[in-house]
């Protein structure tokens, strides 16, 4: 049973029809989760809500950039949120790669979107099987604090901490992810 997730359908309705009800559903699903992620960096609830507001407005305004063949809605919003968090916490604009121009692929976009949906389900299953300690490490790395202070102070070598902190978890995940992408 392969079909697009609710989130993808809502996002496409926002992108293609500027559908406010669909945007409301996206808000109700993602805003509380974004707020939880943002508060992990030690931000107070009020300020976290300001960030959530900026992120969700960006989702509405940049909906035209959303491409379900390249990214899950959650991954796309996650990036927007991390960018915004870095802007606020570090007071610097996060460098982002040049956007791909809408490429023509031999595989129809709809099939690619469905394949991505399936990958995401497998990724969720792989995450669920991760031992608790490793899962916590991945959580810390992907959802946690964004100040570079912590990364630099511990070892003096900025990448040293990142490496030891998430290497184990990533090795397993990378392996799973590669297999998914190879399928």
């Amino acid at each position: 049973t392969q079909e697009l997730s609710d989130q993808t359908i809502w996002m496409l309705a926002v992108r293609d029809a500027r559908d406010r009800a669909a945007f409301g559903r996206l808000f109700d699903h993602f805003a509380p989760r974004l707020k939880a992620m943002i508060m992990r960096s030690g931000m107070a609830a009020d300020q976290a809500e300001d960030v959530v507001q900026d992120v969700m407005l960006t989702v509405w305004r940049k909906a035209g950039m959303f491409d379900p063949a390249r990214a899950q809605v959650s991954a796309w919003i996650y990036q927007i949120a991390r960018n915004r968090q870095i802007d606020v916490i570090r007071r610097e604009t996060r460098p982002v790669p040049e956007e791909l121009s809408q490429e023509t692929s031999c595989e129809p976009a709809a099939d690619q979107a469905l394949a991505l949906e399936q990958e995401a389900a497998q990724l969720r299953a792989a995450l669920a099987e991760l031992p608790e300690a490793q899962r916590t490490m991945v959580e810390q790395a992907y959802l946690g604090d964004l100040t570079h202070g912590e990364i630099r102070v511990n070892t003096g070598l900025p990448l040293g901490t990142i490496k030891s902190r998430i290497r184990l978890a990533l090795e397993k995940l990378r392996h799973d992810l590669k297999e998914l992408r190879a399928q």
């Binding site: 707020k35 959650s74 991954a75 990724l123 959580e139 992907y142 959802l143 992408r181």
Partner: protein, 211 residues
């Protein structure tokens, strides 16, 4: 760590996707991903992981006033953000860091030039322009250095680095990269600590050049 990498290692790409990479290196990664489909696909994989983790977070109540405030703003015109495109060999994220202006090249001797892209507590990013066949100053590193080729190529010992290739060097590496023949080599170099130069002249110049 003592790596010579032509590709950016996975842990650095993952740290970038998670927002955990210090700014100078994030600039190099963003520049590389702009030019390399394999790195883009890998970063997208990690973003998917981040998105999945975010979606699994226990939801926290949000205020109804915030929801209303957002809906009230949906029709407001979006702020116009400048868009930067690659210019010649200089990738879009570097043009963004330069705010769209051409790099300010300064001679550093023997026909070599450099231009500062970014400088902060987190480190320094600069563009290097080295005439074909010429060596970069011999130096060691106090921290980590990432160098990506934007035009031409350079040799470091046995290894040749061409456009898009990235060399990663740390304390343990004392090296003298040499620009290949042909066109001048233009590189993007990020460091988190001042380089230690081994010959007297560059060391004297270091405070002046700010590297």
């Amino acid at each position: 760590m003592n790596t010579v990498a032509h590709q950016i290692p996975s842990d650095i790409l993952a740290a970038y996707a998670a927002g955990q990479l210090p700014h100078p290196y994030a600039l190099v990664v963003a520049a590389h991903v702009s030019m390399c489909d394999a790195a883009r696909a890998e970063v997208e994989g990690y973003q998917m992981l981040g998105g999945t983790m975010m979606e699994a977070e226990g939801p926290v109540d949000v205020s109804a006033t915030m929801r209303d405030a957002i809906f009230a703003q949906l029709d407001a015109p979006a702020p116009v953000e400048p868009e930067y495109k690659a210019q010649g060999p200089i990738p879009a994220p570097i043009m963004a860091a330069l705010k769209g202006k051409a790099p300010k090249w300064r001679g550093v001797g023997l026909g070599a030039k450099q231009a500062l892209v970014h400088k902060s507590d987190a480190g320094t990013v600069r563009l290097l322009h080295i005439p074909a066949g010429q060596a970069m100053p011999d130096h060691g590193h106090a921290g980590l250095e990432m160098t990506m080729v934007l035009q031409g190529a350079f040799y470091d010992g046995e290894d040749r680095f061409g456009v898009g290739d990235v060399e990663i060097a740390d304390e343990e590496i004392d090296h003298t990269p040499i620009a290949a023949g042909g066109e001048p080599c233009i590189c993007l170099a990020a460091t988190d600590a001042p380089l230690r130069f081994n010959s007297r002249l560059p060391r004297l110049l270091q405070p002046i050049l700010g590297i």
